[in-house]
């Protein structure tokens, strides 16, 4: 409290001090018969010199930052498209830094050089077509070069991936990433968000996952049956808001279940194969050096952005649609650590679109391996089929789902009766 009071007093005294100084300054101006609009030669020249001085200081600061931090902030590009990006970026930087120096120098130098001098009148120079043509046409030509090079590179970067490119899906949600490798057939299986269950977080589409989604929506802990029995239970006391919430939840689930039954009717088992051999991977994304990857991006809740700063790659992930991006990593993590002289360095996949409070923590470490290492790692991974049925069996062992939900129902009944 005392601290705040002292701060306040200091501020008030400061304002009064400035006001007094300004007052004194105004009185002396008055004595000299000079208004605020008359800029003295001394002030004018001083500010002219400061303009020039500021320019030098600004350039010095720029060079200091370049020398200390520079473009190397994230190391050299570690992918094929990244190398081209860096080349083009360097070229563009040379152009714009030249323009930056040229125009700023003219601006500040003229502000210093042509400060008012007694007896020197300004030159009446309203226009000059030749000059204006020059600074319309020259920038246009430079821009033409920039546009052509840029678009060529853009077309390469966004074109279709090669047929043999490895397909990997990156699934984003608040606040983590999950990868799904396409498995032996190099084909990512289909999905539908309605199939999301604890055992099928990526909502992959097979006959079995449809059945289990239907089962959990009907008989799960918060399934339709439980909700209905709670809502129809005359003895169960509920706050009106809770009841209303439960009713909306129920009507939503009733709509969903119809869609799930439709899906079941239309489902063709042939596409299941592509799903079962997929490999789901959390925490770390392993990539093989010098292999092209085509990433398919999905989002579960809000927009995220898959940003690989070291590979110079980025693409938003959008709920309701699949976006794609391709690149070929060409430096292994091991090599990069040596080049960066940093044994703890890792590539990373970050989220780069505001997605909620923990946005800044949403990342996945990326490791680029030699082909042999990559293959042996891949061989150690379980396919979706294996992990799915293993988890289902584990869940079935202690207590089956329907039994669970009746237990819950019984509980609430007994609570109501007490």
């Amino acid at each position: 409290m005392g601290g705040k009071l002292i701060t306040l007093i200091v501020i008030v005294l400061g304002v009064i001090a400035i006001a007094q100084l300004v007052r004194v300054y105004e009185l002396t101006s008055k004595l000299r018969n000079r208004g605020e609009h008359d800029i003295t030669e001394r002030d004018n020249n001083l500010n002219g010199k400061m303009m020039f001085g500021f320019m030098l200081a600004m350039y010095a600061f720029f060079f200091y930052l370049m020398a200390t931090f520079g473009w190397t902030g994230r190391g050299e590009a570690a992918s094929n498209i990244g190398k081209e990006t860096d080349w083009l970026l360097d070229l563009n930087f040379i152009i714009i830094i030249a323009v930056f120096f040229l125009t700023n120098t003219l601006l500040f130098y003229f502000s210093y050089k042509y400060v008012r001098k007694p007896g020197v009148k300004a030159l009446y120079f309203p226009h000059n077509n030749k000059l204006e043509m020059i600074w319309t046409i020259v920038p246009a030509c430079v821009l033409a070069v920039i546009i052509i090079l840029g678009l060529k590179k853009w077309n390469d970067a966004t074109g279709d991936a090669k047929k043999e490119a490895i397909r990997v899906e990156l699934f984003s949600k608040q606040f983590d990433w999950t990868a799904r490798y396409s498995g032996k057939d190099n084909q990512l299986g289909r999905f539908d968000y309605k199939l999301t269950t604890d055992n099928n977080e990526l909502a992959l589409l097979t006959a079995e996952t449809i059945d289990s989604a239907i089962a959990s929506m009907e008989n799960g802990p918060n399934g339709i049956k439980t909700l209905e029995s709670k809502l129809n239970d005359a003895k169960l006391m509920m706050i009106p808001e809770d009841r209303e919430k439960m009713e909306t939840d129920l009507s939503r689930k009733q709509r969903m279940i119809r869609l799930l039954y439709q899906m079941k009717e239309r489902h063709d088992n042939k596409s299941d194969k592509a799903v079962w051999d997929d490999v789901i991977q959390k925490d770390t994304l392993f990539l093989c050096v010098n292999k092209e990857y085509e990433f398919n991006f999905r989002a579960k809740d809000v927009i995220h952005s898959a940003f690989f700063p070291h590979f110079r790659a980025q693409m938003n992930t959008v709920p309701g649609m699949v976006t794609r991006f391709k690149f070929t990593p060409d430096i292994t993590t091991k090599d990069m650590r040596e080049r960066m002289n940093n044994p703890k360095f890792n590539y990373v996949l970050m989220c780069n679109k505001i997605c909620g409070g923990a946005h800044y923590k949403m990342k996945m470490i990326v490791v680029v391996l030699e082909e042999t290492q990559y293959k042996s790692w891949m061989a150690s991974k379980k396919s979706f089929k294996d992990s799915y049925f293993a988890a289902a069996a584990a869940a079935a062992a202690p207590a089956t789902m329907p039994a669970d939900s009746t237990a819950v129902a019984k509980d609430s009944v007994s609570v109501a009766m007490n």
Binding site: G3, A19, E26, S29, G35, E36, H37, I39, M51, F54, F61, L65, F69, G73, R74, G82, T85, L88, I95, I96, V99, F100, T103, N104, L107, F108, F110, Y114, V120, K121, Y124, F125, P126, H127, T136, A140, L143, L151, K153, W154, Y193, T196, K300, D301, V302, F307, R312, A313, N316, V318, P319, T323, N342, N346, N352, I354, C355, G357, Y360, K363
Partner: protein
């Protein structure tokens, strides 16, 4: 007809002024519900200054967190209390809230409402030789809509669940789903309603500016004799009228998605464990609608600043603005192009890459009229006789930041390069310099230059100098290093860059060092603004009386008396005989010839 009607009205009021105690001069009608454009302009200015202080303070709060993450700060706990800064450490959600409201206020309330609202109102009638705006009543409404929306936005900071937190661009689904972040409840609703009201006010104002410019020019004031300020305000108003309704539609659809259960922007979403039934909407649609306003908005902010600086530079260089017609042409070209470049904000949203290439082309075209403007400013200084008033310093500073921020735009407009730096601090640095700093410099320049016209008194020059030097050093000190943070790959809107420590200690050290530099400069620059605030409010009441034409300027506002009269000119409206840039014309006695001076015998118009 309107012009005639206004003439009589004006005479009537001028008459009333001499009588004293005329009923229209009551306190309420003079200072609060005033229909006088000069008073409305001042109302806009003071409101915007208040909002600007708030937004600047918010930026200092989150800059402290960025430079010293996780360290307890008395400053934070003083302003945010235990709810949002427990133990003096900012909460994650509130960090995003501060960032969001800082951006919203700065872009819309300070630089759109404040800049264009203030100076369009004060200068359009005065520089055109009109008694007032075409509709004084609508003009008053436009201010009160602006004021109401400012109040709502300000109040949203004090909502228990926090203000809007989805970034100033409020992309759905994040902004549409109350479950996704705490500020998405009442805070986001207030944000949307505030913006809807703001847009209504801005539309009314813009329509008024357009009609006034087209209909109420005095005799002889042809379009090609208008000062560049008026050209800039005119094109700005047209941009506003064409683009703001699109933002309103985007906001209305978002309000419906939030409150009425529609699915314009939502499809296949599971959030907070709830599976939503919305299907078929597209979040990308919102981005298209938002940026269809969002990009012209950049020029709505920038053009008035460029217009003001054209006038300030010509006056204080004692030289005609170089290439007057080219300047008008580039304003029109920038205005037109600004409508067909919005997609450059969306290169990596999953938009069709071919569409991206079209936007690369149109975006880079804007560099041509911008380059023309810069070279014309520089040539105006060449062989001038510069009087470095504080306003002139700010105008030159504007040209510098316009260049420095503009060139990095070339990199960002190139979709192939944008992939690597999209949404990093490089973007933040770019738009703060080119749009934020340039517009703020233009606004400060405008205030220093036209203060005598607004308040009949002079601001203190020395304090003005100190203010300028602190501000420009602060501006470059903050935003130069920020480019390097971005090149290091640091994403924007991150609460804490310590996460870099987990995978790249080199980048971590670099980002942390730079963030401290940035924050220190930001605090210096913010403290420097207190000089301006003091100077501004002190001079309103105690500043020395202003002469009629302090800067020896040519435009018509300086032919009005220092004491304001309703209707601007006590007698006849002046007639215009020449363009506004006859400075240092050979053969003339003085180094300026006001627009209302007839051509001398044998004198040629420029």
């Amino acid at each position: 007809m309107a012009a005639v009607a206004h003439d009589t009205h004006g005479h009537h009021d001028a008459h009333g002024h001499h009588d004293h105690g005329h009923h229209e001069e009551s306190f309420v009608s003079k200072y609060i519900f005033s229909e006088d454009h000069k008073m409305i302009g001042k109302q806009f200015l003071v409101t915007a200054v208040f909002m600007g202080i708030v937004a600047m303070l918010l930026s200092i709060l989150f800059r402290i967190q960025l430079a010293w993450p996780g360290e307890s700060s008395n400053f934070l706990s003083f302003f945010l209390g235990e709810t949002w800064a427990p133990g003096g450490v900012l909460k994650e959600d509130m960090y995003l809230g501060l960032v969001t409201i800082h951006g919203t206020i700065m872009v819309f309330f300070l630089l759109t409402g404040g800049l264009s609202g203030t100076f369009s109102n004060i200068l359009i009638p005065l520089q055109l030789g009109a008694r007032d705006m075409a509709s004084g009543f609508l003009n008053m409404l436009s201010y009160w809509f602006f004021c109401l929306s400012s109040i709502i936005m300000f109040v949203s900071l004090f909502v228990e669940t926090g203000p809007a937190m989805a970034g100033w661009t409020v992309y759905p689904p994040l902004s549409a789903l109350p479950q996704s972040i705490s500020g998405n409840g009442l805070g986001m609703t207030l944000w949307l309603f505030s913006m809807a009201i703001f847009i209504a006010g801005s539309l009314i104002g813009s329509l008024n500016y357009i009609v006034t410019v087209l209909n109420l020019r005095t005799t002889g004031m042809t379009m090609t004799r208008m000062p560049l300020t008026i050209w800039a305000f005119f094109v700005t108003a047209i941009l506003g009228v064409l683009s703001f309704p699109v933002l309103l539609s985007a906001a209305l659809l978002l309000i419906m998605d939030r409150l009425a259960g529609t699915s314009f922007y939502l499809s296949d979403i599971i959030v907070g464990g709830e599976m939503l039934t919305n299907h078929g909407g597209s979040p990308i649609l919102f981005q298209h609608l938002f940026w269809f306003l969002g990009h012209p908005e950049v020029y709505i902010v920038l053009l008035p600043a460029l217009g003001l600086s054209s006038e300030i530079i010509a006056t204080n260089a004692r030289k005609p603005i170089f290439g007057y017609r080219a300047m008008i042409g580039s304003i029109l070209a920038i205005g037109f192009l600004s409508f067909i470049v919005w997609g450059h904000h969306m290169f990596i949203t999953g938009m069709n890459p071919f569409l991206g290439s079209v936007f690369v082309f149109t975006t880079l075209l804007i560099a041509i009229p911008s380059a023309v403007k810069v070279f014309n400013y520089i040539t105006t200084l060449w062989k001038g006789s510069l009087v470095l008033t504080p306003a002139m310093l700010f105008a030159i500073g504007l040209v510098s930041t316009f260049i420095t921020g503009g060139v990095t735009g070339i990199i960002l407009a190139d979709s192939a390069l944008d992939i690597a730096i999209h949404d990093t601090y490089f973007v933040v640095a770019h738009f703060h310099i080119v749009m934020g700093m340039s517009a703020v410099f233009g606004m400060f320049g405008g205030v220093y230059h036209w203060f005598p016209k607004m308040y009949g008194r002079m601001m203190n020059t020395r304090l003005g100098y100190a203010h300028f030097w602190i501000t420009i050093v602060g501006a470059y000190g903050v935003f130069f290093p920020m480019h390097f943070v971005g090149l290091a790959g640091a994403p924007r809107r991150y609460y804490d860059y310590s996460v870099y420590n987990e995978f790249d200690t080199n980048s971590y050290d670099m980002i942390m060092d730079l963030n401290v530099i940035v924050t220190v400069f930001a605090i210096i620059a913010a403290l420097g603004q207190s000089l301006f605030l003091f100077n501004f409010f002190y001079s309103i009441y105690r500043g020395p009386k202003a002469p009629q034409n302090p800067w020896k300027s040519n435009t018509l506002e300086w032919t009005t008396p220092v004491e304001h009269v309703h209707g601007n000119w006590p007698g006849e409206i002046p007639t215009v005989y020449r363009w506004p840039y006859d400075y240092s014309k050979p053969g003339a006695e003085e180094d300026y010839i006001p627009q209302n001076v007839p051509l001398a015998e044998g004198e040629e118009e420029h």
